[in-house]
């Protein structure tokens, strides 16, 4: 009988047991499925469980490993995928009622990659409807209802990868795949006390993924540590002829070895002083302690500032216009009224009204911003900042007012396609997680991973997990 600890082991440890045949992929998958069946509904974490597929994949993995064909560290590892990734024959609802019956007859490239390395898909993670493409007011803006935070089920996990966050935090899968257009990997990672990697734009194929804002959408892993994120990222990164937005072959793949010396390339860190206007007292104390750790283990760390400009406005109009285009038929047919959230039901009509001239002007500012950030990354390899200025909010919170603080780093990072890795860095007095994010130059995902791994080598926050009944 597996102990609770098994569900929180890092991928490297589970992989070691699987490779040495001390742990059966079939038994591991069955125990995860049982746990997911029992606890998933309490957290609204899953859109669908895929037990038949999972057992089939697990049996195949076990057979291969028994015959000496071990594929690598994800072979036999159970995971969940956000419900906007196509899985052949399995409902893919995009978290939205109008698409509740949608089934694709092919796998998304990310799913194909994970299947190829032997990972086991145990289910589709719940999500905010249409990944929040039209905005939303309440955590319940999902076909599956509000995802509940395993650290406090009266609180939210944050969206739109809200189910992915709940699944990893509650130990319902070894890792999960999420997506971010603006904040949806960093935010649930911070609220749920887990590690999440938002890769460089174009590093991971989006073929078979729902498009919200195509110039900003990205796919990445949520897992127990930066090391785990890197292992998953190395499996899903790479050029894809089916997705023209992926970077060229020679710059797409990511090779990762945890044995690489973290000090082989000293990183120049910049601690951002203007990422947030104000920190909630609940996060200020843990973040102050985290800053001391960062400055101790990266002794050359200097203060840094983000460029100022209308970058959040640019990010907003970019998302609004692109989402309106992505879901044009949904809006014009009137089926958009079938969405759950009162904002989602009507915002698309307004977003259609913004002009092409304003959109292109925003893109010109975006180009200027990208050059400004290139200049900053001539000085720094990695920028560090609190992942969020608050801890997890109650489920019934009006998000449009309670979380309406300025987020220039989120806007800039996503407009410029910068990689970011959020890791837990402490807890509030009410035992809610606090996150720290490491942001690097586009294409330099490794530096964000290297910095976050170094932080986690000297901290224990990522080993904590909630007591899930």
């Amino acid at each position: 009988m597996p102990t609770e600890e098994l569900f929180y082991l890092p991928i490297s440890e589970v992989a070691k047991r699987i490779e040495t045949k001390k742990l059966s992929p079939v038994e591991l998958t069955q125990t995860y499925l049982e746990r997911a069946s029992k606890l998933g509904p309490k957290l609204n974490a899953f859109a669908t469980l895929t037990p038949d597929l999972a057992i089939e994949q697990a049996k195949a993995a076990e057979k291969e490993i028994q015959h000496g064909h071990y594929r690598g560290p994800l072979h036999g590892i159970p995971y969940a995928a956000k419900d906007l990734l196509a899985v052949k024959g399995v409902p893919t609802t995009w978290g939205a009622k109008p698409y509740a019956q949608q089934i694709f007859d092919y796998d998304a490239t990310v799913i194909e990659h994970l299947t190829r390395v032997g990972a086991i898909l145990i289910g589709k993670a719940s999500m905010i409807e249409l990944a929040g493409g039209f905005g939303y007011r309440l955590a319940s803006a999902s076909l599956q209802g509000a995802a509940k935070n395993p650290w406090d089920t009266k609180c939210w996990t944050c969206g739109s990868s809200s189910g992915s966050g709940a699944i990893v935090a509650a130990g319902l899968a070894a890792f999960a795949i999420g997506t971010e257009t603006w904040g949806s990997i960093v935010c649930p990672s911070a609220f749920c006390g887990i590690s999440g990697l938002r890769p460089t734009y174009g590093r991971v194929s989006r073929y078979g993924a729902m498009a919200a804002a195509p110039s900003m959408d990205k796919i990445g892993p949520l897992a127990r540590s930066a090391d785990d994120c890197a292992r998953v990222f190395s499996a899903i990164a790479g050029h894809d002829p089916k997705d023209r937005s992926t970077v060229p072959i020679d710059r797409g793949a990511f090779t990762y070895s945890p044995s690489l010396d973290l000090k082989s390339r000293p990183l120049r860190l910049g601690w951002l002083t203007n990422a947030w206007q104000k920190l909630d007292p609940a996060v200020a104390k843990p973040l102050s302690a985290a800053e001391k750790i960062v400055r101790k283990f990266f002794p050359g760390t200097k203060s840094a500032t983000l460029p100022e400009g209308p970058f959040e406005d640019v990010a907003n109009i970019t998302m609004n216009v692109e989402a309106a285009a992505s879901f044009r038929d949904l809006i014009r047919s009137g089926r958009v009224s079938g969405l759950t959230d009162p904002t989602s039901q009507i915002a698309g009509y307004l977003n259609e009204q913004f002009s092409g001239a304003d959109y292109l002007r925003a893109q010109s500012i975006r180009e200027i911003l990208q050059r400004k950030m290139e200049a900053i990354f001539e000085v720094f390899d990695v920028l560090v900042a609190p992942a969020l200025p608050v801890v997890a909010t109650p489920l019934e919170t009006n998000l449009e007012t309670a979380l309406s603080f300025a987020d220039p780093l989120g806007a800039i990072g996503n407009l410029c396609g910068l990689p970011a890795l959020s890791v837990p860095c402490g807890f509030s007095d009410k035992n809610l997680p606090v996150g720290l994010q490491f942001v690097a130059r586009a294409g330099d995902d490794y530096s964000a991973i290297q910095a976050a791994r170094t932080f986690q080598l000297h901290t224990e926050w990522h080993h904590r997990h909630p007591k899930v009944a």
Binding site: A86, Q101, Q102, I103, F104, G132, G133, F134, G135, Y136, R137, C158, G159, T181, W182, G183, R206, Y207, A209, S215, P241, K242, R244, P248, P310, E312, D313, V314, N316, I317, M319, N320, G334, P342, T343, I346, A347, Y349, L350, N351, Q353, F354, D358, L360, R361, Q363, S364, I365, E367, N398, L399, E400, L403, S404, F405, A406, D407, P408, G410, A411
Partner: protein
């Protein structure tokens, strides 16, 4: 479109029809808009009503008007940002040499091969 809210709203547009008093939105702060901006926001709202007016409840109409007004300052800021004629948008076609020699036909994820049952 004011502040970030990006963690939860892709639009950043505070919006919609209050369904209960606890989440009622504030009336729009339009006093800072110039007459031209105010007129533009109202025209945008009217455009929506002209096309789709029968689809909305009175509360939704009020919300749409508020959202249109609240979106205006961001548009004004984007237009006020200094740009030169040669400042190109961050949109450009990749040179052909960067593409595959024989690219496969583009397939839209959700279109051709989806089965809506």
């Amino acid at each position: 479109m004011a502040s970030a809210a990006a963690l939860v709203t892709a639009t950043g547009l505070p919006a919609s029809a209050p369904q209960d008093s606890s989440i009622a939105q504030q009336p729009p702060q339009t006093s800072s808009l110039s007459p031209e901006s105010q007129a533009e926001a109202e025209a945008r709202y009217q455009n929506i009503l002209n096309a789709y007016g029968s689809r909305f409840s009175d509360a939704q109409k009020a919300d749409l008007r508020r959202m249109s007004l609240e979106a205006q300052p961001a548009l004004d800021r984007i237009r006020a940002h200094h740009l030169e004629n040669g400042d190109n948008p961050a949109l450009y076609l990749k040179p052909l040499v960067e593409r595959e020699k024989k690219p496969s036909a583009p397939v839209s994820a959700g279109a051709a091969t989806s089965k809506k049952t």
